[in-house]
Symmetry: C2
Subunit: 558 residues, 2 copies
C-alpha cells in the first residue's frame, strides 16, 4: 500500500486532531503566495479561464451529448460543456468498478483517496476560482471554504471512515475450550463490504465543502460514487472528480469508481436516486427535495443536510459594539446564502442591558442596521464579503421579505468594481412581532433576517424552542451576561439538538464551523439527519461480511 | 461513577475481546452448579413458578388493568398478569426520565447498565426457565441462549456504545493563531445526547437474546426505552426490565427510564411505533411487521432483524457422516425456529462426491433424514434439542409444507416425558426441483427444510445468489472439497452480503453465532438492516450537541 504509507502522517494527524478537537489543519487557509506559490492564484484563474467555452475533458460511459448548465452570479459567461451521460450506463459502470475497489481494502482505498486529496489541495486556487464563478462567493471565501476548508472536511471523512473500518479486525482465531476434549478452533475472516453505489448530490452554494464529506466517506468505505452536482455549480465538482479519476487510473483502478452525472432533467435525477442499485445518497439542499429523497429513495440510506431556521437570541451583553460587528458580518457573509446564516434574531420588546446602557428594541435594530451598512460602505470589503447572489429567486425573496414587517434595513444593489453584471445586494433586516411566527418560522433563504420582538428574555427561549423543534436549525447563538440564562440556552440546545455559540464577539462567527473541532449539524433536528463528521456519518456505509471454517481436523460433531 | 469503576474490568475485557474477536465470555455457558450454585437451577425454577398465576410486581404509570397473554408451548399454565399501561402515559414517563438519564453521562449510564447486567446474570436460571416456558426452547438452549449468550450480546452492545461515545471528547480548547494578533481561543463542550425514546420490540422465540442488544445499546447512548415484548414471551423481558428498574431506583434515577409496554392490541403497538416522540425502534420478527415499521414509523430509525432464506450449499465433502450429523442438528435445534436455521439445502441432481463414495441426490436426502431420525430417536436428547413448537401456525405450516414436494422426512409428534401437553414435532424435509423457486424462495418458518435438486454445483451457486439477493439470509453454509468452489461461495457471500460458514462438521453449527466473535446478520441484505453488533448499531443512536464560547477577553471582531 505505497500511497497509504506516503500519506500515513497526514491520516494520523487528522486522527489525533479529531480525538482532541483543538485547532488543526494540514491545509493552510491563507491563500498566501508563500504557501500556494507566487503565481498560484494567477495560475489557478488561468486554468479555469482555459476551460470556459469548451468541452470539459471528462470521458465517461453512456455520453449522450454535451451540456452547459451554469450561469455565473458574477455575470461571467462560463459555457463549460459537460458530458450528459445515460444514468443506467453510469450505474452499470459503477457496478463494474465496485469489486476491484472493494478488494483494494481499507488501506488501499484510503491511500488512493489521500493522494487525490493532496492533489486537490495543490489545485486549491483553480478550484477556488471555479467555486467563486459558479456560486457567487467572494474570492476569499471561495478560496477558504471551497479549498482548504473543504479539503479539511474531506480529510475528516476519510479519517472517520478509517477509524470505523479499523475497528473491524481482518481475521481472528477462535479457540473455544471443550473441557477435556480438544478445543473447537475456527479461522474467521471479516471483510468490509460497501453497501453499493453511493449518490452524492451537491448544492449550488458549496459545491466542494458539502460534496466532499459524502464523496470521500462513501469511497473510503468501499462504495463507488456517482456525483450529481447542482446544475449551476458543476465545475468545482467536475475538477475534483477528474482528479480522483486520474489517480484511480494511475493506480490501475477503474476510473468509473467515481463519475459525474450532470442529470439536468429532474426525472433523471429521480430515476437515479430511486435506482435499486443506489444504496446511499448524500444530499445538501432544499427541504423539499431532501424530503422527497427520504420519502422516495427508500432503498437507500439518505444523509441529508437541508435547511432550518437559524436563530440568535440576544438577552444582554457586555460587548455591545463587538456583538453588532460580529452579527453584521454573519448576516453579510456570502449574502446570507450559507445554510448556517442566522435568520431570526430574538430581542425582548423592552430592549436589552448592555455595556453601553439600556438599548431599546428599536435601537438594537438601528444599531445592527448601521453595523451592516458600515461593513458594506467600503466597496472593496463589501463585494469581498457579500459575494454575489446566486439566483434570481433569492433576489425576489429579498424583495418580498421587505414587505413582511417593519423594514429595519433595506437592501441596496451595489456595483462590482470588476464584474459589471454581478448581482450584489446588501442584506435586508425586517422587524417582526413574536406573534408573527407564521413568517419567521419559515426558512427564507438568502440575505434576509428577522428581528423579532419577544415578550421577554424568557419568551425568546420559548420562541426559539418552538421554532427549532418544528423546523430545526444548523446554528443557534445566544448573547447574555447572565450565566443562568446561558445555562437555559445550553439546555435548550440540548433539548432541540442544535449546536450553540455563546457570546461571539471576536473573529469567530455563528455561521462558521471549523473542521476537526466543530461538528457541523447535529443530525438530530429537522434541518439535517447527519453530521459532518462523526462515526454515525461513516459507520453504516459498509457492512461486515464474515466467513468461518475449522482450521484443524477434530472429532466430528456429537 | 462508582458503578463504572466496579465494572471497569468487565467493560475492558469486552472491548479487548471485540477488538480481537477470539473466543471470550465473562458469562459461562455451562449451567454448572459450580458456577451457578448448587441450588441455582432449582431456585430459578422455583422463582418462576412463584410468579405463575399472579400479578407481576411491576408498577408503571398509566396502568389500565392487568393482562395475561402467554400460552406455553409446553402446555404449562402461566397466567402471569402484567400491567396493561396506556401508551401515552409510558411515553410521557420516558420523556420525564430522559434528562436525568442523559445528564448522567456515558460513564454513569454504562456503570448502571453493567450493574444491571451482572444482576441479570445472577438470575440466569430464573430467566432461562421463563424463556423455556414461554418460547418452547429446550432447557439447555433456554439457559444458554436466554441466559449467558444473551448477556454476552448485551455486553457487546454496551461495549460498542461505550466505544462510540468515547470517540467524542467531552471538551476541547480551540486555539487558532492569528499571525501577530492574539490567538482566537474558544472553549468547546461536546455532549452526547440520545435521539429520544427507543422502542424495543421483542420476538416470540428469543425474548432476551434479541431484545438485549437494542435495549442496552439504546440505554447506554442516553435514550429511555420502552420494551414491547411479544405477547407470548413477556416474562423474560419483564424480569429483565424489573432488574433494570431496581438498579435505576437504587441509584436515585427514574425507574421509568425503562418500561414494559404489554401493548396487546396491534393498534396500540402501531400508535406507539409511529409516535412522534419515538426516535428509534429495534425490531425482531416477521418481514411483514418489519416492513410495516420501516414504511410507517418514518420518524424513527428502525433496526430490523427479520427473516431471510437461509441456505446451505452441498457440493462435495470429505466428511460425509460428520456433515450429516452437523446438518441434522442444525435442522433439529429448537425445531428450526431460529432465524438462522437453514431452510434450503442445495444439492446437485447428479449427486455429490464424498469420502464414502458418490452419493446420489436421493441418497443424500435419505441419509440426512436418517441422521435427523437418529437424533430424534433418543427421547431425552430429542426433547432437549427440539424443544416445543411455539405456535399452532407453525404446526400448520409444517403440514402444508409436507405436500409441496417429495416428502423425504415426515414429521412425527413426540411425547414429552415431563410435559404432557407439550407440542413436540420432528423436522420435515421436502425434496424440490431447481425450478420450484416459487416454493423455496419463500421463507417457511419452523422445522421445514427443502432439499433442492439443482442442475449442478455451479447452478447451486446461481440459485443461492438469486434467492439471497431477493430475500436475504442470516446464514449461508457451503460444503466442498474444491477450494475454487469455496472461493466462489466466498465471493457469493460478499456480493449478497451474507455471512458464510465453510465445511462445518464439528461442534459449531451454521445457525449459531458466538458473541464477541461472530457478527449476527450483516445488515446488508433483505433479512436485516442492522447487525449484532458493530459500530453502525450504536453510532447513530445519539447525536453530539456542542457549544462554544470565548475563554478570554480579546480584541473585538474587525
Amino acid at each position: 500500500m505505497p500511497l497509504f504509507d506516503t500519506h500515513r502522517a497526514l491520516l494520523e494527524g487528522a486522527l489525533d486532531a479529531l480525538a482532541t478537537r483543538g485547532h488543526w489543519t494540514p491545509f493552510p487557509e491563507s491563500p498566501s503566495p508563500k504557501v500556494y506559490g507566487e503565481t498560484g492564484q494567477a495560475d489557478g484563474q488561468a486554468a479555469v479561464n482555459a476551460l470556459l467555452g469548451k468541452d470539459f475533458a471528462l470521458q465517461q460511459p453512456g455520453e449522450q451529448g454535451r451540456l452547459a448548465t451554469e450561469r455565473s452570479p458574477y455575470g461571467v459567461a462560463l459555457d463549460v460543456r459537460y458530458p450528459d451521460c445515460d444514468v443506467q450506463a453510469l450505474v452499470e459502470a459503477a457496478q463494474a468498478a465496485e469489486p476491484a475497489w472493494q478488494a483494494l481494502g481499507a488501506q488501499g482505498r484510503v491511500g488512493v483517496l489521500l493522494e487525490a486529496l493532496v492533489r486537490i489541495h495543490r489545485r486549491s486556487h483553480e478550484i477556488a476560482h471555479a467555486v467563486m464563478l459558479t456560486t457567487g462567493q467572494g474570492p476569499m471565501m471561495a478560496f477558504q471554504a471551497g479549498g482548504p476548508h473543504a479539503q479539511d472536511r474531506a480529510l475528516e471523512a476519510i479519517a472517520y471512515a478509517w477509524k470505523a473500518m479499523a475497528d473491524v479486525p481482518g481475521q481472528a482465531l477462535w479457540d473455544k475450550p471443550q473441557g477435556k476434549s480438544p478445543s473447537l478452533v475456527m479461522q474467521k475472516h471479516y471483510e468490509i463490504v460497501g453497501r453499493g453505489i453511493a449518490l452524492v448530490v451537491g448544492c449550488a452554494t458549496f459545491p466542494t465543502w458539502n460534496t466532499y464529506p459524502g464523496l470521500f466517506a462513501a469511497l473510503a468505505t468501499g462504495n463507488p460514487v456517482i456525483v450529481k452536482p447542482h446544475p449551476n455549480a458543476v465545475l468545482p465538482a467536475a475538477i475534483s472528480v477528474n482528479i480522483l479519476r486520474e489517480v484511480l487510473a494511475e493506480q490501475g483502478l477503474d476510473p468509473n469508481t467515481v463519475t459525474l452525472a450532470l442529470s439536468p432533467r429532474p426525472e433523471s435525477t429521480q430515476a437515479l436516486a430511486t435506482h435499486s442499485a443506489v444504496a446511499s445518497i448524500d444530499f445538501t439542499g432544499s427541504n423539499q427535495f431532501g424530503r422527497w429523497l427520504i420519502d422516495n429513495a427508500r432503498q437507500a440510506r439518505v444523509y441529508a443536510e437541508m435547511a432550518g431556521v437559524n436563530t440568535v437570541i440576544i438577552e444582554s451583553t457586555d460587548q455591545y459594539a463587538a456583538l453588532l460587528r460580529n452579527l453584521a458580518f454573519t448576516l453579510s457573509l456570502y449574502s446570507g446564502q450559507m445554510c448556517t446564516t442566522t435568520q431570526n434574531i430574538l430581542v425582548p420588546r423592552g430592549g436589552i442591558t448592555t455595556d453601553e446602557g439600556h438599548k431599546s428594541f428599536e435601537q438594537v435594530g438601528a444599531d445592527l442596521a448601521a453595523a451592516v451598512t458600515e461593513l458594506a460602505s467600503n466597496p472593496r470589503v463589501a463585494t469581498s464579503v457579500l459575494g454575489a447572489v446566486g439566483s434570481p429567486e433569492t433576489v425576489a425573496r429579498m424583495q418580498q421579505a421587505a414587505g413582511k414587517g417593519r423594514l429595519v434595513l433595506a437592501s441596496r444593489a451595489l456595483p462590482h468594481p470588476e464584474f459589471a453584471n454581478a448581482q450584489i445586494h446588501t442584506p435586508v433586516i425586517v422587524a417582526l412581532e413574536q406573534a408573527d411566527s407564521a413568517i419567521y418560522s419559515e426558512e427564507c433563504f438568502g440575505p434576509v433576517s428577522y428581528l423579532v420582538a419577544t415578550d421577554s428574555g424568557a419568551a425568546s427561549l420559548q420562541v426559539a424552542e418552538a421554532t427549532l423543534r418544528a423546523h430545526g436549525a444548523l446554528t443557534l447563538g445566544v448573547y447574555s451576561t447572565d450565566r443562568a440564562y446561558i445555562d437555559a440556552a445550553i439546555a435548550l440546545g440540548r433539548r432541540t439538538r442544535v449546536a450553540l455559540s455563546i457570546n461571539l464577539t471576536q473573529g469567530v462567527f455563528v455561521n462558521q464551523s471549523a473542521s476537526f473541532s466543530d461538528y457541523h449539524a447535529t443530525g438530530g433536528n429537522p434541518a439535517a439527519n447527519a453530521s459532518y463528521t462523526n462515526l454515525a456519518f461513516v459507520a453504516d456505509r459498509f457492512v461486515i461480511v464474515q466467513r468461518r471454517e475449522h482450521v484443524a481436523a477434530a472429532p466430528a460433531a456429537a
